[in-house]
Subunit: 201 residues, 2 copies
DNA sequence: ACCTGAACACCGTTCAAGT
DNA sequence: ACCTGAACACCGTTCAAGT
């Protein structure tokens, strides 16, 4: 009997998640068999099941990766003096780093999230985390007078996240490549939505 | 050899789509077997395949139903004199008629749409149709001075649809029942986004 | 044309057996 | 502990046969 090897565990898990993600993007969740993932990851079914207890568990791993990535971008929001500028920089960072693979994988994962109650709870927690973080930054900018107080900080945060999500979904539907094109109108929309002292015309 | 019976065809198709929708909402697309749909619709596999050529073809039928429902709501936008009022009435009609079943089914269907190229093309066309219809109404209201011209009519239409979609997705994630709660902030957000002469504070 | 149900190739998952 | 691959129950789809 050997002892648990945490390093190997992490490496293998990462390999499996990456291989599975590639398969899901190429063929979709439905049409990807465990055998496909095994081939892509270079291991047998038994080994794969040693690291992930089910196909759904692999999705859970991908969801957690997305949550971490979102939190990383949002965490940079608070240390800028100008909220709108910080938000725009975050959007540009997002537009610069997000790939078509990420977008398709996200859509792929989204349906599975609603389907499985455990995933749904985790996704809800991740969304609340993002909303609260954004709301805190907005509340601060409202207090300083930079942002309008028409919407509460929480309501505004939900609108911002909803708007960005809706834009990302559309970018995915209409070829992900035109995300850059949508950035400028999105910025203008966010300004109108949030900023105090609206641009006239 | 009998001749084709269009009435029967329509009835049976509707039965199958409804039964399949129920199954998808209850157990998800993955975990619904054709046998499940057959049981729910009260027919044998052979019969089901006589009306729909594949499981994906059933999804296509559901997508078409969603497109028609969206277009019905949007078609009422043009005959009102006040755009914002018409938009709000459309939103209330949406909030009043859409059920948790619709929302979950929509999410279920969305992933499948990205997966299958034929579905993706159709969904894109449906989205363009909605955007163009909305953009035409916005352009008119911009011309009359009711709406601001900061965003082009098309850009504004995309933002409106994105915002609503993002809200609907969140309502689905956080129990669909709280859609009503989100209506008021959504209206305020849309006003700030679109209307000329912003509310101060 | 419309319908049945057995049959086909394949799926996610398990498990006895190896190192 | 880590890994293999055969085996199990089940899946989407087809098709010969009936009316």
């Amino acid at each position: 009997m050997r002892t648990r090897d945490d390093d190997l565990n992490k490496t293998r898990s990462a390999t499996i998640l990456s291989a599975a993600g590639d398969c899901f993007v190429r063929n979709g969740f439905h049409s990807t068999s465990m055998k496909d993932i095994c081939s892509a990851a270079g291991m047998s079914p038994g080994t794969l099941y040693h690291y992930f207890r089910s196909k759904a568990d692999i999705i859970a791993g991908i969801v957690e990766g997305e949550r971490a990535a979102t939190q990383l971008i949002l965490s940079r929001l608070t240390d800028a003096p100008d909220f709108m500028q910080a938000l725009f920089m975050a959007l540009e960072a997002l537009a610069g780093s997000i790939t078509e693979r990420d977008l398709i994988l996200h859509a792929e994962v989204s349906a599975e999230v609603l389907r499985r109650p455990e995933l749904r709870v985790r996704a809800r927690a991740a969304d609340d985390e993002a909303r609260d973080w954004l709301a805190a930054a907005i509340a601060e900018a409202q207090a300083s007078g930079e942002l309008a107080r028409v919407l509460s900080a929480h309501e505004a945060a939900v609108c911002v996240l909803a708007l960005i999500d809706g834009m990302l979904w559309r970018a995915t539907l209409h070829e992900a490549s035109d995300l850059g094109e949508r950035l400028e109108p999105l910025k203008q929309a966010l300004t109108r939505l949030l900023a105090e002292g609206q641009v006239p015309r």
